[in-house]
Symmetry: D2
């Protein structure tokens, strides 16, 4: 059953395979009169695109995005916005060796059984290439959120066992500047260097490694999120878990919070000087969300990525006929996915916040 849409009020529908003609997205429900900065959208795509540094896949895709509808004289019109990204540098023959083999920990086998057919070239629809469409849509959501001064920041907090220290600042513009100075996209320069070296080693060994991304969202108004099923963090969690290779999500105190006591975990309110201000709390173990609804504090969450499944080493596997075969990764792949995934995480977060911002208007 149809499952390629996300969001209810600010809703996206993506399409496209890794080696098809194009990928893209329709954004339905974006309010009118949002100024569309196409250059910004392209910059966001550039942060995700392959071939951007020595530690990413060398596939050459410009990921040039064109807008086919929904914009008039530089502004959104309230009608569906179609963003199209042609595929340029497919090398489908890189994949002929896996035409009837099931790559371990890939979606080859499950797609084949589910559909009885699959576009094996580059992983088809299961390719992370699909996330470029999300980044484009997320960039538009960010432009919309700018009207509310809402800012989203993600960075690589771990590569393998290398963990970044806690963020040294809560100024997102500052953090962004630091992050973009290194190719790992970690906001701690020393750790970034260490991570970069480690990814280099991993790559040389033909191996891959997992990692983590930490996110903070600022200036979210109080009241976003629907109680019960569509809690704000439940939708953030689903959004993150829908990104390829994500194996875990936690917000606020997260998994560590499960070993805490209520007396230390409760976030005590601070008396605001002026009554019309949003309340603040002394601590923020709630991660900016209480009862599924934003409370005005910073929203923060962590996402865990497993290592990329395609490795440049020989592995045993099975083909469609059930024969034992050997397989070695070809094509151009990332040794570690998190540096590029940073922008995907931000995009999905922006889409969730935009969606709940619109949903909440029904009560106002």
């Amino acid at each position: 059953m149809a499952g390629n849409s996300f969001g209810k009020a600010f809703k996206i529908t993506t399409f496209g395979e890794s080696h098809g003609k194009a990928i893209g997205v329709i954004i339905d429900g974006c309010p009118p009169n949002v100024e569309v900065d196409l250059e910004f959208i392209q910059q966001e795509l550039d942060k995700r695109k392959p071939g951007q540094s020595k530690i990413t896949t060398q596939r050459k895709e410009s990921d040039t995005c064109s807008i086919l509808s929904g914009i008039f004289e530089g502004k959104t019109t309230g009608t569906p916005i179609m963003l199209l990204i042609p595929n340029e540098d497919q090398r489908s023959k890189d994949y002929s060796h896996i035409q009837d083999k099931y790559r371990p920990s890939h979606a080859d086998y499950t797609y084949q059984v589910k559909y009885g057919i699959r576009d094996y070239r580059g992983g088809g629809r299961s390719s992370a290439r699909e996330t470029a469409a999300r980044v484009a849509a997320g960039a538009l959501a960010k432009l919309f959120l700018k009207q509310y001064n809402i800012e989203i920041f993600s960075h690589v907090s771990a590569v393998g066992k290398i963990q970044a220290p806690n963020l040294s600042s809560n100024n997102i513009k500052e953090l962004l500047a630091i992050r973009e100075e290194n190719i790992v996209r970690c906001a701690d320069p020393a750790t970034a260097k260490e991570m970069e070296n480690f990814i280099g080693v991993i790559k040389k060994e033909g191996d891959t490694v997992g990692g983590k991304i930490a996110t903070v969202i600022q200036n979210v108004p109080v009241g976003l999120g629907e109680p019960v099923f569509d809690k704000l963090h439940a939708d953030l969690g689903k959004a993150m878990l829908s990104i390829n290779a994500v194996h875990g999500f936690e917000y606020g105190s997260g998994f560590e919070g499960s070993s805490m006591r209520g007396s230390e975990h409760n976030d005590i309110f601070i008396n605001p000087e002026h009554s019309n201000k949003a309340l603040k709390t002394l601590t923020n173990f709630s991660g900016g969300i209480q009862g599924g609804i934003s409370n005005g504090m910073d929203i923060n969450f962590n996402v865990a990525f497993k290592p990329v499944a395609t490795i440049m080493r020989a592995q045993n596997t099975i083909d469609q006929e059930g024969n034992d075969v050997e397989i070695t990764g070809k094509g151009r792949h990332d040794p570690c996915v998190v540096p590029r995934a940073v922008i995907i995480v931000e995009a999905m977060a922006a889409l969730v916040i935009a969606d709940h911002l619109l949903r909440n208007k029904a009560y106002q």
Copy 2:
């Protein structure tokens, strides 16, 4: 905007406040001709109900469920099934002291700002009492899944810092029997004892503590889950994160997987003796899901719960007018929520699997 429904094909809509007349659920989309064992539904509710042991809240609710529609001569008819659970033992006066105070780490403040009105008695809609409706619906989903031999098992894997060892068996019936022998609902008797003692101490101190629940699902056919947004684990994650107090979700290798290498993380296929059998893998770091689609292996995931916010100690807080006030927990509350939450986790898992089982039929 409306947000009290979950699922697309096997869809539930819940209603009810902690201190209203009743809570309940409509299940829409359950296939016809499922045998409805009302006794089983009641047993499931009994595992969640308050007052079941010395370590749970002493509110006395029989949680007696009646079926108002959708069943004819003991079988589902394909029409909406309405399950009603009246509230019996509300003590609303226990809550008059918080009528205009915001309890720390509760939903009082966010509901008030979002809606401009709230039913403060017992937390209203934000009360965990709402989960009884989910358990009733989940029990029905389990009865439907029995037709496919699908089994779901959850248990308490951690209370505070006390961690249970890995499960000693993969026989769910066996594990269930062990789990139900202790009031903590941990499938390792020695750890259960330790947890029980610790919860007793915590309770005596007027404090609360968090915990974790581990789940395994067996006999899920290959092919459930939609690629991209409605990945099977993304929907499981959203389901879990929608449960009160949940702060984290991970499946398969989870957060630990982020520090692994691809060469150790990849799940190698085992050659099946007969080609018509589903493929198995040597390891199961994928947690039974590849590319968002079930691969026939056991599905497993962990859920982290924060400590209950209501503690029996004095805390500083703020009232609706912005005055500093002191608050002390009254009412009847759990010192640790995970023993009762085990059945809620199972229920939500059953609802997700049932939903995707029906959704997948569109391709068959």
Copy 3:
């Protein structure tokens, strides 16, 4: 697949069979702080309830509605509102004669094939009794729309070949008063008398007859309705066609409009004296909707009902085993459904307008 919900932002889910324990509805998405006048809801139900006059079915149902959730101190809280209407006067034995017979032009055969099981008593879920839940939900939607001064009026415009003249007034309060003075619910007293007599004759003959209902909606703000698929009139049409026995829907110029020329059909704008007023048009062939969006003029539409299928005469039919059998209507049925359906049409119209009113807020 689940199909018992209607609306996206103001969303209802109904349940219940004719001879089950109860019917009812969950309203999800109603904004908070709407004053709930339970007496008004009951009055609306009384206009639909059976046994209200000599020309309706004599089944005795008080249709007493209770609210189980979502209301606090007389106001909506923004959480799901559950309205429950117990069944009281089922005479299931009236239906034992059709247990395995397919009544002509009923849903017996189609339900049996679709589900392989059916609750034959009183038509089960296919009974018009389900519409009581819609009327209760519609009454709540009307209470919400009162905040916007939006008024909805339906009346019986035809019974068989007897047609009412055009409405003599556009004052809805006046029209309502006239309509409620007769049991047919036609706003033209002379025609009402004629209709009443005709229905009496039809009833005596053990037969039934169809009819039509005309509706006008006033004070709808400009801008409701989404372009393309969720046009305001498309959702009104679906709402009406979902009512039992409805075979046709037209709005504005309707079927007659198809024989007109553009030069006579176009609604010319009138220059408003003050620029901040909504524009009016000289004529209203557009029925208050242009491009699927309300234009501020009165919205008007007609709904056609087929004659009730249950007649008190012998008819040939077939049983589940394929034998020829004879069947004669038993039970208590309406000779003409439109006098009671007036309130159902109003209710569904209120639900559509409330839904689009909330949906439109996403653009504001």
Copy 4:
């Protein structure tokens, strides 16, 4: 709020403005392994495209459709199918005269108020050009329905006051051949001639005229349609009413049925020779649908179109500043829309049937 999608299991999302770069559609949920005949899709588009005969608009659009995703080696893969139709022959300057004028009975005014911005060129999103995307998606739905032998046939049954007689055959292939022999697309050659002449006269007068389209659908299996809100005819009605210029929908006995008696309207079952055959009925006033569910008989319905609003005559109207202005239609427009709309009606019908066919699988 997002409203550019249609269908739940076989779901389409359209985008594009009349004078933007392109229009198109994503089809999500189409089952895998449907053979995609691109030539057939193009033939369907050719029947809708402008400039096809002397009685249609002379805008020159080849409406060439390309498939950007979801197809592999000529077959659907179960992933989203993107169909793109570039705009080629926009003459936006034809519309500069209406930049700030509200055309009577158009969507100019309502869009402006709803969104505060509009793409006035060619009507933007409100243009009937959007329906090309529906025709492309409908063609794909027809290819899917071919697997079930389901056939859909529409033709022009009225132009102005000229009515076609009842169809002389129930052989759809035969009827299609007759219909395509004339440019009006009426399956009665004599009436077609009369209609063609009348449209010629109307065109010469710079005027437009409405019309009606009749449809029959054959070989629909018993059981499609969900009771209560998503009745098969309610979804067909919504689909038709969502087409530009449609003012009315009726199925089966329709508006005429409202003047009939139950004793003449009831469809009596015919005893099938073999018990495993679907039951037939003597008459078909139910239009192939009972209780909202298909009963295996031919489904038939009528759709009423108002006259096109753009006429080549001077009309008084108002501009955005509230000044009285005169306006005369420019651009290239149809004097009568029904000959091209025939294929749009078929497309929307195919989409509804495909959607309910998949939805019904959840019960099987």
